[in-house]
Symmetry: C2
Subunit: 379 residues, 2 copies
Amino acid sequence: MIHDPTSPPTTAHWTVDQPLGDVPAAVDTELVRFFADRHADYDSIDPVVADGVDVLELFVTGGGKRLRPLFAWAGARAALSGGGGSLDPATGPADLLRAVGSLEFIQACALIHDDIIDRSDTRRGRPTTHRWFEAFHRDHGWYGDAAGYGESQAILIGDLAFAWADDMFMDSGVDAAALARAREPWRRMRSEVIAGQMLDIALENSGSEDPTMSQKVNTYKTAAYTVERPLHLGATLGGADAATVDLLRTAGRDIGIAFQLKDDHLGVFGDPAVTGKAAGDDLRSGKRTWLVMCALASADRSDPATAARLRAGIGTVTSDAEVDDLRQIIVDSGAAEQNSARVRELTDHAVATLRSGHLDTGIVDEIVTVADHLTDRRS
Amino acid sequence: MIHDPTSPPTTAHWTVDQPLGDVPAAVDTELVRFFADRHADYDSIDPVVADGVDVLELFVTGGGKRLRPLFAWAGARAALSGGGGSLDPATGPADLLRAVGSLEFIQACALIHDDIIDRSDTRRGRPTTHRWFEAFHRDHGWYGDAAGYGESQAILIGDLAFAWADDMFMDSGVDAAALARAREPWRRMRSEVIAGQMLDIALENSGSEDPTMSQKVNTYKTAAYTVERPLHLGATLGGADAATVDLLRTAGRDIGIAFQLKDDHLGVFGDPAVTGKAAGDDLRSGKRTWLVMCALASADRSDPATAARLRAGIGTVTSDAEVDDLRQIIVDSGAAEQNSARVRELTDHAVATLRSGHLDTGIVDEIVTVADHLTDRRS
């Protein structure tokens, strides 16, 4: 429990008009409540299980931008603000909040399993889940392979998070008809993010230089999962009409891809003081982004020797000077500007889409503000 | 697709009275249909995704006793055969079949992730999922760590199976009220099997000799997941009254634990020609079963030197002579008879429980036949 039990946090005053900026803190509150129930249900089985629930709670409540709940809330707000929707009287605003908050558990599963896949040691300044269990094994002088034990328990903790996403969503209190409407985006979102992750791993391991592979990863792993389907989910929960669903999905896909491309730009050109990562981190790790693939393709056409230097450097450079050299190649290839132009184009298109329907200006302006922030369109 | 598309299998003639023995083949048919839909939805994303769906299809449709669907079907039959239940006219027999068949996807996730955890190379005579992807990586001359790639993709394929369990269940066609009634066993079953797996891994790695730890693993990983909750799930789908749910859960827990203890007995004393495993396989692998823990505790009291020989031998023996020696210690300790007596006691108790209610003789006799078969009570 991370909150003082003498003054329990509450979302009792939550309303359907609540601004997007209020979503993250309110979701935190609901997640803490959810964990209190789960501790009551499962801690008594055994300390091993209670520890596992603790580890998952610290992970889920210990940070994160709550982007997916925020977009899902935006979808519900849009449905109810000119999007043709209405709420069943049986569904209260806090029920809707719980339903969108459940997306954080899908994200927890994705990150915990991703950290195993990427062999990451830390996340948000703390040991990753598999490293936590590995250290537990070592600290207790247990038998066998501590690293294998850590990965095994982390696989299971990720599975638990995936199951609990579903539990929090289905038991949110939202009426059955709204949950039934939301089945399609819920189903699609989960399969799409897994498909996107499968593609991403295949892309990294195959050494593909095909920009369309990178676009598919961006479409499924980021855009569908982070923006398009959360908006879709919220819209169906709020009973939006088909035109509003289409509009939100189109805008969401564009915002999501722009967000990923902007993130890829920061991975190469970002300021370490802002990103919290080493300068040119993506170049050091060899991440195969659309930006890098476009640079390779362009350099191949104009200057094969430079292309060879870029190709050899990606994933192998270590010094700042080497990073600067690759950065310059990417700029000179035109790919950096191509990437930035695409971010602007996609975001502009998304904004135009959002403004093309009958949605109230208030909710559209709020979504545009978030999109601008994520894609840095105004900077 | 494993069936000839010119004569598609069908469950159109499935009825609510269908015998338990008919369930496995009918579930196979529904799983094949489910995969046809998923191929249509996801193959077009990329060959990487299509391959992943193929791998999962081969795994799910390629064998298995379908025990969990069978018990869930038994629960539904019991609900409708004196258990106080009735079916909404909107729910057809094939809808119910699909709902119980979805449990095979939970099992697929559990086995695929278990195979990673146990570092198993084969299952049912074929490469495990992570080994399949590892070989794919190697065959294609990809970059990086083939084994790591295999594990990564297998984690994701397991996640996909877990998501699809839910999809198949929720989209089964069963009416919303029945699905809402089934939420509790559905929720509990998934969390309990994961908790049981966490306990199992902790037990193996800690070297615990506490028989209560082993009992907890049997309770959650086997009994709840394989028998109690499937019966519970089916009973709620069929609208069983509370007394019937209690009766089925009690009997299911007993049958499930007896089944595990019987399996543990076979793991030590079973005939390789029947079990398909090496003689004394559990002694060679060092599995910490209730049987072994009881033998250790008993030998510690009566003959510390023999206890030390057993303790040192578990997980380290390789020859048949060594296995025979450990077997004799386990027999002499009284633990083998204690284990067998417990199997008989639990199964007898389950049968008495099943006959104590108002369920029709027909469905009770069918469940008893399955229980006898699983626990070998009559042999």
